[in-house]
Structure formats: C-alpha cells, structure tokens
Symmetry: D2
Subunit: 292 residues, 4 copies
Amino acid sequence: MATIATPHIRSAIILISCPDQKGIITAVTDFVYRHQGNIIDLDEHVDFGSKTFFMRIEWDMEHFSLSDDELRAYFLRYIATPYQMEWTLHFSDQKPIISLFVSQYLHCLYDILSRCDSGEWDVKVPLIFSNHEVGRDIAARFGAEFHLMHITKENKREQEQKQIQLLREHNVELVVLTRYMQILSPEFITEFPNRIINIHHSLLPAFVGARPYHQAFERGVKIIGATSHYVTADLDAGPIIEQDNVKITHKDSIEDMIRKGRDVEKIILARAVRLHMQRKILVHGNKTVVFI
Amino acid sequence: MATIATPHIRSAIILISCPDQKGIITAVTDFVYRHQGNIIDLDEHVDFGSKTFFMRIEWDMEHFSLSDDELRAYFLRYIATPYQMEWTLHFSDQKPIISLFVSQYLHCLYDILSRCDSGEWDVKVPLIFSNHEVGRDIAARFGAEFHLMHITKENKREQEQKQIQLLREHNVELVVLTRYMQILSPEFITEFPNRIINIHHSLLPAFVGARPYHQAFERGVKIIGATSHYVTADLDAGPIIEQDNVKITHKDSIEDMIRKGRDVEKIILARAVRLHMQRKILVHGNKTVVFI
Amino acid sequence: MATIATPHIRSAIILISCPDQKGIITAVTDFVYRHQGNIIDLDEHVDFGSKTFFMRIEWDMEHFSLSDDELRAYFLRYIATPYQMEWTLHFSDQKPIISLFVSQYLHCLYDILSRCDSGEWDVKVPLIFSNHEVGRDIAARFGAEFHLMHITKENKREQEQKQIQLLREHNVELVVLTRYMQILSPEFITEFPNRIINIHHSLLPAFVGARPYHQAFERGVKIIGATSHYVTADLDAGPIIEQDNVKITHKDSIEDMIRKGRDVEKIILARAVRLHMQRKILVHGNKTVVFI
Amino acid sequence: MATIATPHIRSAIILISCPDQKGIITAVTDFVYRHQGNIIDLDEHVDFGSKTFFMRIEWDMEHFSLSDDELRAYFLRYIATPYQMEWTLHFSDQKPIISLFVSQYLHCLYDILSRCDSGEWDVKVPLIFSNHEVGRDIAARFGAEFHLMHITKENKREQEQKQIQLLREHNVELVVLTRYMQILSPEFITEFPNRIINIHHSLLPAFVGARPYHQAFERGVKIIGATSHYVTADLDAGPIIEQDNVKITHKDSIEDMIRKGRDVEKIILARAVRLHMQRKILVHGNKTVVFI
C-alpha cells in the first residue's frame, strides 16, 4: 500500500497502545534515531479519560542498523516491556491478503476487486465467500476462488469452520464484509479480532439492523450515510472506522436512497480497508484511533 | 423574505396538499394564467405511498386581475374545494413576526438576531423568552423584550399561558427554540401546530434526548450533526426540516464536538427558519416536503 | 434507467426550452391530461436573464390515448410550434447505448463497466476506444469491443473518422471520456453536440489543462475536486453538469491527492452520465439546467 | 482559546520550522521531558520537496521546572540554535487582541463579535476600522471603538499610518478582514507579516478579484465556496488556511449564491482566526501547515 505514496522505500511501522506517562515519545523516537532510522511519519494521541497513550511511527529502513528480527527483539526488550505496551510491527513490503464475503448486492465487491485489479491497491484477494450464486461470475473474471456456502441454523457452525480453515490456509489477515447479509457467530469473530470490517448502510447508531434505508425513509431524515466498522459480537455496534453521508430530499424514494447510498457505501468501505492495510487504525475499547 | 431575491415584486404563494388525481397542475396554473398572473416558481411532488399531491406556486401580483380577497374566495370555490385541498395563501410583503426561546447557550440567538438586525432577514423579533438570565443583555442590545420565566413542574401551565398570551398579542406566527432546554407541554404545542421549530444537536434519530454530544463521544462516531424540526408532542421526533453534519476524529474531545457542533446548529436552524418564512415547507404526517 | 425507480411503468419524457411567456405550463400539462396521461414528474425553470423557459415533464404511458407517433406529431403541431420550443421526446424503455474513451487511468472505466455489468444501470457499452493498450483486458472481461487507436497529429483526422463511423454503426448516443488524455477535434465534437461527457480532475474553472492535482499542490489549496461537463471546442470550458470535492491538508502529497481525487472523479462522472441518460439535463448556452 | 478545551491548564506551545534532519523530535521531546513537562499535543510534518521540518508541541506547565524566561533562553541555546530553527513560543493564558476591518457587508463582523461577546472565544476586539458608516452602531453595541476611515488614492498612506499607530497602541496582534473591500498597501502588509487574515468569497484560485459570485454565476459552476488566507502583497494569492463550499443548482440566482455564500464565509473565517489564535498554523512559502 505505502508503495503508492513513497514508491522505493521499505519502511517499518509500529503501532502502540500503553498507559500514558512522560517520556514515551522520546524513548520511541530515540530508539529509531539511535539505529539510523529516518522517521517518515509520527502520530500520537492521548485518551485523557482512560490515560492511554497511542502512537504510530513509520521510518525508512534503508540505513536502519538493525535486522528485522533484531528490531523486534530490541524494541520488545528496551521499549515495549518497560512501558507496558501493546504493540504490532509491520513492514511496508508485506502484501496484504484479504477475503471478501458478499451476498446479492455486488457494488462493494466490484469496487474492491477493481482497485486490486487495476493496481490502485497492491493487495491479494484469493477467496470470495457468498451465500448467493450471483457473484461467481465476477469472482472468476477477477481471478478469485468463489465459495458458495448456504448458511442455515443447522450448518452454520460447520460452514464457518470450513471458512476459517480456508482463510488460514491462504494466510488471510483481513475479512471484508462487502454487504454480507449473514450474522457471523461469536466463534468466527473471535478468530479474527479487529480483523473483520463491515459496511453498514446507515450513519450508526441510527438505523441498526435490517433495511436501514427503509427505516430512514419512514423517519423522513434529510441525510443518509454509511458506516464502516470492525465486527464484534454486538450487531452493528463495533468500533467505527469511517462514516460518510449524502443529502436527500422528499423527492428521493427508497430506491433513490438505495442508489445514492451505494456510492457512499463502496467509497467508505474502501477507505476503511485501506486504512487498516496501511496500519493506521488502533482499536481502544469500542472506539478507533485513526491516524489519517 | 422573498424581497431579498426579487426586490421589487409583490408575489402570492399558495401551498397545497390534496389527494392526487390527474389535472391538478393544469387547474392551478390555468387559474393563475387566466387572471394574468406570471408564474415565478412552481414545485410539485407526489407521495406515491399515500397518493398525496403537494404543490407550491408563486406568481407575480403586478398584473394580476383579482384583489387579494377575490383571489382567496375564487381559489377556494373553483380550485381548492373541488380538489379537496388543504391550502394556505401568503404574500411576499407580509413581514414575518417570530419569537425566540433560549436557555444558557446563546449562539443560535446571536445568529438569528444578527440576521434580522443586519437586514439579511426582513423579520421582526419582538419577544425573547428564557429560563436563564444570561440572554437579557443581548436581547436589550437587539431591541427585543426579554421575559425571564423560570419553569417548574408547578408553575409550568401558568407560565406557558402567559407566554401564549404574549405571543398572541404580538401576532407571533413562528416560535423558534434556539437551544431551549425545556420541554413544551402538549397544550402549548397544540397552540402552534407546525409553527414551532427546534434545533437538536444530533443527526436524529441518533442520540435523542439529553447530552447528545456526550452520547456521540461514548459511541465513537466519526460524524456529528444537527437537526432542525417542527416540534410535536413526541420529544425530538417531529418532522425533520434540515440536517447537516461535520466530521470529527479521535482527537476531538466532547468540548471540541460542542464547539464544532455549534456552527452547524446555528446555520441549520437559520436555514429552517428561513424556509418556513418563505413558505417552502409542507408537513405531511411526520415528514416534510421542502421545496428548496 | 428509469426502470430502477418505477419498475413496471413505461413513461414518456419531454425536455423543453423556449422563450418564456405566460401559459406554457398550462398548455403542456393540459396536453398530457387531455390524452389521459398521469404526470409522474414535472420540473420547470425560468432563466430571468435571457427570459428562457425550461421544462421536463414525465408521464405514465399506460393509459395514454395517443400512439408514440401521434404524440410526437400532435405535440409538435399544437404545443411546440406555437410556443417556438426546442424539444426532445424520450421513452423510458429505450436502452441507452454509450461508448467509453480511456487512456491509462482506468478507475472511471472500471466503475462504469461495473455499474452496467451488475445491472445497476440498464445500459449497453459496445465500444471502448483507447490510445493505450492497458484497458484491453478489462474491456474483454466486460464484453466490450476494444479499439486501440494511437493518435498523432498526422493521423488524428483519419482515426476520428473511423471512431465516428463505428459509433454510428453501433447507434451510440453518448460518448463518455473516462479520463481520456486526448483533445478531440472540433469536427468530432460537432458530430455529438452535448453528447460527449468529460471528467476533469479539478473544480473548474480552477486548474484548467494538464496536471490539475500538481497545480493544486503548488497553490496549497485545502479543497480539491472533480467536474463533469459536456465537451465543447473550448478545452475544459463546456457546460458543467456536476462537481464534488474532498478536503485535503498539508499532509497530502500529490499522490494522496490523486488517490483521493480518483474516488470523487468516478462518482461524479457516473452521476453525470446517469443524469444524461435519464433526460434530466438541458443545456443553455454554456450552462446546464439539471432537474435532479 | 485553549482554555475552552482544557480549562484549568496553563500550557506552553512552541511552533518550529527548520531544515529536516534526524533526531529533532527526540531533541525537542527530551527537552520538555527532562524539565518535567507533560506533552499534551504533538504534531509534526515534513515537506519532502524542500526538506523542511515543522512541529507544534504543547505541554502542561504545571510541574515544568523552568520559568518562562528560562524556557525561552534554554530552548534557544540548546535546541533552536543547533537545529537552525525558526520558532515562536506562546502561552495558553495570553489573551489574543484582534482588530476587525469591514466595509458594508457585516455578517462576518456580527459573527466574530458574537463569538467574543458570548465567551465562545476569550479574545479582545478593541478596534474596528471601516470605510463605511454602517458598522458603527453594531461596534458600539459590542463595545469596540469604531474608526471610520475613507480611503482615497491620495490619503491612503496617511490613513494606513493612523491605523498602524492605533493597532500598535492597542497591542493588536492579528488583523481580520471581515469582508473589507479595500486593498491594503504593501507597506501595511509588511507591518503584519502572516498576521492579516482575509476571507475571499470563492474557492481560490477560482474567481480572483471583484464579484466572484457574479463570475461563478456566469461560468455556471455547481459548487461555490469561500477561502480564508493570510494577506500578502499579491491580491487573493496568499497562503490558504481553510476552504469550504456549498452546492448550488441552476435555480440559484446570484442573490441566492450571495446568501448561501455568506454562511460559508463567516464560518470559514472564524475557523481560520481560531486556528491562528490557537497557534496551529505555520506558514511555509505560499502554503500553510495547519495542525488541526
């Protein structure tokens, strides 16, 4: 992903959450500096309520004096452990592998496949799962395996186990629900903590659940929108990543709202997926810190 | 109001709601045409669910061949009655008279008073009611009577009766709640059907009730907003007129949300008040038709 | 197109421009009414500067008492001629045929092909022209003929003649430039008056010509955007159909602007193409009347 | 200003521009850390084209071990000088003093005076200058001295000298042009480098100069807007701080555009003034770095 902006650089990214205290920024930046890293980007945030410190730091690895393994080991020992950090380390040349789950509305699927196919995103999509046949043809045209899996109360556990196994085999790191009209089980969600992104077609928390455009039409709102969020066990209640909206008037029928909403949904889902892949999102409780 | 856009014209405006049937537009436009009226603006809308027809027509009165009284009588007899219309007739040279109700947050009050004072709006504001002392000074500076009325469970009925009497004496046609932190009684609301406009500091129906910015902060939304609506007996559930929003990030504290929200609130309330005064809003059930 | 909103109705649409005078709306609506047409949608606009009247009327043909040919003939004789109208007649069951011209940036191409392929649009795309090889594969996957045509100063006239011939053979009614980096000759444009839509990646009239994001970066603007417009002989100066924007900050590199701009471009181009196909646009001089 | 967000804290803010090199962030944060400062906010940015580093750091002074004078002296000696920094130091308890220049359009004047009067801003406005009489009354009501100064080619130099003297006497640090229809001389501008903020009623660089809404109407754009920027000797070409926009349609007359534009102008000007007073803006060449 980062190759788009800074094509020839291999960079390292560390995401940090830890109890707030003085000196963290100095400690982290000094670590990078002492090993000849040049900082490309640094963002930090303090949640004053919970006294939690968040940070994202990215630096150029070209002249960095540690190997990747040394980096991981030294940072753990000298920085992460003393400051009680939760942290993750990423490198810009890791190609993300994602899987798409879809039902009968395909606009988000087309959009993400197009971004990967055109080279806008440097991302691999090996697997598409659906409970409807309709996406098979487009999956084939974009070179992804298509798995039709009808889900019933009886077979849900078994079907999800098959999905998990395939996702593991293909080293999928992120599951994207591109308008997938099935509720994932808590077991499935636990397999991919903060690694399942959904698009809900309302400005959450308004219009939770089924048929949000119909609900919006009934209420007579003048703004509709879409929300991308991480999936948790609570339906439509996970940490929100991005939201956007479009104005409507009394002239807009439910069909018009669905049509206008589609364009918001696909853009706002793509933005969330990109932010995740660029390691710009930290989850804290039921909220996100997004370093745009 | 309309004088701003078309300074030297005296126009008539008719707002219509009636059961949909063929021929209404022809009947209405022909009525205007036959009496030498030149149509300035025509908007119509059909609600297909309830088969209801809505229309706003405005025409130049300069060469119109009927007097205002004849216009009213003839339109009633030949058009409104046969088509079972609910309708209202307005003239662009009627100066609207409005009253403001406010508590301790004054940004909407300042904004509306400034619009009237500067001549942006050609509107009279004779009366300001408040349950807090803080607005008295600004009311005085803008030449409006300021009535401090503390409201308790015990005196509410009595205080509202005083308010209603003063509003009647001053021929107030529209009550604007510029962040008024009191719930009006159903009796008060019945006095001014579709003639009380409120601003709620959320994108309704999200975050109904008290402290919506605090609720929004807790939920971790990325968009906040404001909603102007007609007041009905159901709290924050009346017909929505306008909504607008502003994006926020994890960096925004509740205080930041309040600050950013203020600017949206005052603009979106002013837009709703202006639309009402320009006779551009029709209420249908719990929705509005707004001919922008 | 209209079938999305009102699936089972065959409707007629008339677009009208004529000198303003009293009685036009009555005449047109009466024509529809007398022949048993039920008006679905009516929009009108008067340009007071040039005293020009614009109208779009759409009605249900189910019980209409005239054949399509009678409709055309009678309207011409009894309405259009007396009122000196320029007018066009359309039916909602005509399937639009469009052609796409593209260079090396493919996001708008993917987007429009996806809309047609998924059934979001009921539109045919038989022909894609390009001066680059890169789009051939995607064209094939979506079932469109791909014509690679290198354009030089010497062969331009000849190449364009081939294009015009192919467009005629396939009854293409609308040419869409989905980021086509070639200037069309005045002769080509004359073949398709108000029937070529371009997307320019700036908020025109800012940043005309080449590399608008680079220009925007140099100037340090905080908003970038895109403009869809009809193509005329003056570069980037034709009638504007739609514009939309996205905010940027000092953190956004030119590459970020290109990335953010892409999403605006594809949405705003699609909206313009859809509005054209729904017969919602009238051109007047160098401006558009868009009945949204 | 900062007291709104963090009411009881006295904080120090340093703004830095310098040649980019490794170790700057570590040096600055370590300086704060070693003297017991707790960092509240840190933002940094690198302009890769010019290899310039920008930083804003704000910390709580409560337990800081240096006096204000020591802070200034030590930072200069140990940090600013070695790293060749341009830098400024501010404290959150300095009450900003601003002056407003206005002509006949008063909406921005009302808006800023209301923000100061209501306590939304903790800012002093001792002086208002105008070349029109119309603002005198509102100035009086808000307790500001009003200076009517007609400007002609002959007296311009003299009048501006009087203005400069008054501004100095009142320790005005920021001049805000709230729709001031006079061009300031280069001499005046030199007195207040990056300390004069103007609002221009277009999305610059579109529609430079006089009557931008008229220009926008002629061109037939679908989006209008406003731009707040620092004033430089080049008309409407100074560093842009904020821009916002509003959509328009063919229905909007020039008067409608002026009306819709007013609301954008006053909000976007207020945002820029607030950002300046919160020390969130750095100027670099003809651009701004705005740490929102």
